[in-house]
């Protein structure tokens, strides 16, 4: 293995930091039961809006304090990683597959396929994403599945636009002509020659999209349209925290910090992955 040059090491830091936080999320999601000190739903009106452990008036065992219904914030944050990750992975995969395929077809074939798909993308982008997602969830009914469908139905255009631009640029390269000369059929050229060069862009977008999916889920909970039960999500905790921010800032701060770090982790992880597996960058 080539001795890592400083530039090389600096670049992979963001990959490992991102990966570390994501791994932490997975760990918390899987072992939520064991990890959370209290029952995430248990309400105790005696323990309303307790400050975090290091502030005066805190209650031992409630490390990050409690919300206005006396529920332990740390436990709720840990349990909230489950819906967040489910939405992130499923919705992003759906959006990625659908969008990238259409983007590849539009970019590589051009002509009518390109015009129709581009028109479709235009129409989709005319809807403010948040408004469309709220509308979709209202239509499909408040449940995690409708959130996932809403995100996939909206964000596929993000993949389609990037992949289309990349495919159009690749199409003009001589190695595509060389593949034609070798007798490859169009599908094989798209899969073997164009796709490998588009993958790094898709990888970055996919991880960015996971971050965005978590945000959209948080926004939907914020306007109380996410999952119906009061199973905790960062969004619902933030919504509650926003209301009482002057009295109990910590109810908002901790879930917000988690969301902030998660989004950053996903984006830096994506960038790091792209640089890691892109032979030209290595």
């Amino acid at each position: 293995m080539v001795e890592p040059r400083p530039l090389h090491r600096r670049r992979s830091i963001r990959l490992w930091l991102g990966a570390a936080w994501i791994a932490l999320l997975f760990f918390a999601a899987v072992f939520a039961g064991a990890l959370s000190p209290h029952d995430r739903l248990a309400q105790d009106l005696m323990l309303q809006t307790l400050p975090p452990a290091w502030l005066p008036g805190a209650e031992p065992g409630y490390y990050l304090g409690t919300d206005s219904l006396g529920r332990d914030i740390l436990s709720r944050i840990i349990y909230a990683t489950r819906p967040a990750l489910i939405v992130a992975i499923v919705a992003s995969t759906a959006a990625c597959l659908f969008g990238s395929l259409l983007g590849l077809v539009a970019g590589f074939f051009g002509g009518w396929a390109d015009r129709i798909i581009s028109r479709l993308v235009d129409i989709w982008m005319a809807f403010p994403p948040v408004l469309l997602s709220i509308l979709l969830v209202a239509v499909l009914g408040p449940a995690l599945s409708s959130v996932i469908i809403a995100i996939a139905v909206i964000d596929w255009t993000r993949f389609c636009r990037v992949v289309r631009a990349e495919a159009m640029q690749q199409r003009r390269m001589d190695y595509v002509d060389s593949a034609k000369v070798a007798g490859y059929g169009t599908l094989r050229i798209m899969a073997r020659e164009v796709l490998p060069n588009v993958l790094p862009a898709i990888v970055v977008l996919f991880s960015l999209e996971m971050g965005i999916a978590v945000i959209v889920e948080a926004i939907l909970s914020f306007v109380n349209l996410s999952i119906s039960t009061d199973d905790p999500t960062w969004g619902s905790m933030i919504a509650e925290g926003r209301g009482i921010v002057h009295q109990a800032w910590w109810v908002l701060v901790f879930p917000l910090t988690c969301l902030f770090l998660t989004v950053l982790a996903f984006s830096q992880f994506g960038e790091g992955l792209k640089e890691r597996f892109d032979p030209v960058m290595r």
């Binding site: 390269m173 001589d174 190695y175 002509d177 060389s178 034609k180 000369v181 070798a182 007798g183 490859y184 059929g185 169009t186 094989r188 073997r192 020659e193 490998p196 060069n197 892109d278 032979p279 030209v280």
Partner: protein
Amino acid sequence: MTEPLFRIDNLRLSLPDMTRKPLFGPAPRIEILKGLTFDIAAGSTIGIVGESGSGKSTLGRALVRLYEPTGGAIGFDGQDITHLSDAALRPLRRDLQVIFQDPFSSLNPRKSVGAIIAAPLLFHRVATSGADSRARVAAALGAVGLPRAFASRYPHELSGGQRQRVGIARAIALSPRFVLADEIVSGLDVSSQAQILDLLARLKDELKLTLAFISHDLSVVRRLCNRVIVMRGGEIVENRDTAALFDAPEHPYTRQLLAAIPLPEIDPGWLEAG
């Protein structure tokens, strides 16, 4: 006279003019090849020479059917391939290979040199197994003077000359009957240019190839080719044996081209000579 490998009859081709493409709407089409008729004898090396915009590259791509002609006919090995579908062309593809000009865009940056050379071998089932394909890749690299270890390297790690050799290796690995070399030395220094042309001349004889060599540099063509076509504005201006063309050029344009080449020797009057 053996049966010519290529028989071209009144070849016409027009392409959309992307430079005048309006922001929205189809681009106007302009005719690039305006009725070309010529043969390419099997085993010969034909130079296709012309200045930029003469249509020489387009002609080259039409020969290997990267473009479909809009008129006339292309006969390859006695078969009319003018309007063959991609599927029908596929079996012939093995015999029609191309070496591209820009070494930076002709090799897929994300594939290793070995994969680039092996892929067509496996696709056409020339290589029967992994081991066989690795052997053929090594042989092809050896033939172009590159060490076997280059198979695991990536295009961005190679110099311009080395990449061009990989391009040649990819083309000859399929032991084709016809190879098109599209301005393959224009981007190189004089010393690597000399090495590549020397290599090509040797391979041509060893593998009994028919070679079409596209260039804007008549001096390079003189060294390598036994027949020369001079093109201007999509038409053939002169089509002669090399020696005859250089010793007694018939067409004024050819004479003008030759007169414009600065030979590396003192010649005070050259600048003034119109």
